[in-house]
Amino acid sequence: MASRDEIRALIDRLLDARDPYAALGAYPFADEPARRALEAVILATPRLRLTFAAAPYAPADLLERISIDANAATCLRLAKNLATPPSALARLLTGDASDRIRRYAAAHPRANAAMLSALAGSPSIEVRRAVAGNPNAPCDVLARLVAEGDGLIDRNAAVGPFADTGLLQTLWDTGERHVCAEVAAHPNCPGAVLEQAEAMADALIRRKLASNPALRSAALIRLLADDDERVRAAAVRNPTVSGEFFDDPEGDPSPKVRRIFARRERLAAEVMARLAADLDGWVRRWIARNPAVPEDLLARLAADAVMEVRRSTARNPACPASLLTVLAGDPVAWVRAGVALREDAPEAALELLHDARDPDVLSALGRNQRTPASTLEAIARHPDKDVRRAVAFNRAAPPTVVALLAEDPYPLNRVIIAGHPSLGLAQVEGLLDDPEPQVRFAAAARLARLWAPPDLASGSFDIKP
């Protein structure tokens, strides 16, 4: 609900308080004139400029503003900050930027093709290597760099998403085995190279080849029968492999291969039955999580000797109410906590858990939106701050319980509760005077988002419980 008067009053209050953190919270939701005024508070001292130049939560517009007259130390922080926008990065590179700044800019995920092309001409090998390792580097830039013959540049270029068939062929022909392995894994790898890679004696190259999503099914089927377990594991993990490719993977001698296979959701009933009896606990754990597992098999897994298998059964969305009730009485708290997290758990199961004392079970109940208010209130008063925090994440927690957490001694719990839908606006406003800057930031962001004009209300912060 946008209100021009309320956002104006909020910004006036933040300006009066001269609180940089609360001002930062409101910044993305303020109009241009208000932003200029807030900047005077947010960037009032060199210390604050340095702090926010390095802050990944700083809005792009503020980082842009900081970059306009940044000194060398501030430029370095901006270059390292992943939130810095491309226009600010470009500004850092004008003039006599140090190689260190150029190296961070070259590795920056928001560096664009033009910037990377210019940086590729740097006399510093570290900068050029960073360009080659940037996933935004265009193919022509990678090709220029590969011509240098530097091993690290070659390896970085071989994983570049924009490396084309021609460049990959060059790298295959000239690179050492690690470069060739990356070429074999690349989706743009030339067909002829794929065939050569399959015939290589080097298991590293076959392993990387087996992970290539562009590999043809015939080759994948052959790699599924490779002598090396790591190659077979990579092939089983390949997302393009469908069930009919497998001959007998549940009988694979390597637990590593069987574990990866057991993660697949689409498995035949008889295969699931065999994997549920596997000697390896991780294999049974993955099967226990599979929502397609039939009830009789889940019942067997719910009685498994390994607690993590029983926990996985409790977390399985298809676990029936009767089994959840059994697991709610499990001797291990971690398993009972798995049931306590279930919002579809039957009353009988939740009743078994309401007198819980274990922190894991209490934390899970604290998050469960079906937990009664009286239990949530008791959890919100628990001596352990991490247990209390679970209630802060519960969006169904009633106002009386949420109000308790607004007074929580642990600052992070107050940060989270500042965004809780059940916390009244008067209480959120009260958090603007909180002693912790993160809490004031969160409270200001919540209010500003609520009252901002529609075109600004979707500002860059996302603070939700």
Binding site: A73, L76, R177, P409, P435
Partner: protein, 261 residues
């Protein structure tokens, strides 16, 4: 029934920093100020003993520092200490740990506590000398790096554990009053409640100057002076980059170089 806890507001460095123009410290734009981590544990230990004793017991926090140090003092008061003392004089601007101990000794004489708990060391300079220097100046029994403590008000002795090298632990008894420097992990420091933080703003803090303690600037002249602070040049350390094969090859080269073969 009183425990005195000296605390310090320390500097917490950013990842990158620059030195001051005089080269004797870090430029203050590059660090935050905070209550010394070790002092959280000393304060907590004092509060636990006070709370076990009930009415009439008090914990008094003392710090030597300028106005900025009020934040550290109030942080400790917010946890439940009764009152604070802040001592400052411009003559203390470059005070070393012995000079600070001289000031604290006068505060101890004035307050006459049953015990003094300090943090084992400060997180920024790490001398670990203030507490023990204070004990020396007072002529009190002392123990450093205390990791477990059994003491109640009125007791003539305190029994404590100390961490030694090689994982050894020493159990000793000291006569009281004593100065103990408290190690991390002896307890779980509490977070101050919001109510405690608000109350701390109203708690009494005595602001003293050297003259109030019967000291003159010459009495707290430091016996040591920081001449220069700097990040040392990188030595022979080398980060080996490249593929596993390249790294192994480089490692073999280094071994050969060092062995002269």
């Amino acid at each position: 029934m009183k425990i005195l806890v000296p605390v310090k507001q320390v500097s917490v460095l950013d990842d990158e920093f620059e030195m001051r123009d005089d080269g004797r410290d870090v430029d203050e734009d590059f660090f935050e100020k905070d209550l010394n981590e070790f002092d959280h544990f000393a304060v907590e230990e004092a509060l636990l003993i006070k709370e076990a004793a009930g009415d009439g017991a008090e914990v008094v926090i003392v710090t030597v520092g300028d106005d900025d140090a009020d934040d550290a003092l109030r942080t400790a008061l917010a946890k439940g200490a009764e009152r604070g003392i802040r001592v400052w004089d411009d003559a203390l601007a470059d005070a070393d740990s012995i000079a600070i101990a001289k000031v604290l000794a006068k505060v101890v004489e004035r307050e006459a506590p049953d015990m003094v708990f300090t943090g084992a060391q400060s997180a920024d300079f790490g001398h670990a000398t203030t507490g023990m220097a204070l004990a020396g100046l007072l002529g009190w029994p002392h123990a450093a790096v205390v990791s477990k403590l059994d003491y109640a008000f009125g007791a003539e002795t305190a029994t404590l554990h100390r961490e030694l090298e090689g994982g050894l632990e020493e159990i000793m008894t000291v006569k009281c009053p004593a100065v103990l420097s408290i190690q991390l992990g002896i307890n779980q420091p509490r977070y101050a409640s919001l109510r405690g933080i608000r109350q701390a703003r109203q708690k009494p803090v005595d602001e003293l100057e050297l003259g109030d303690l019967g000291l003159a600037a010459a009495d707290v002249a430091s016996a040591s002076r920081v001449r220069r602070m700097y990040a040392p040049e990188k030595g022979q350390a080398e980060i080996i980059e490249g593929s596993a094969a390249e790294q192994a090859a480089r490692l073999a080269e280094i071994v050969k170089e060092l062995r002269g073969i």
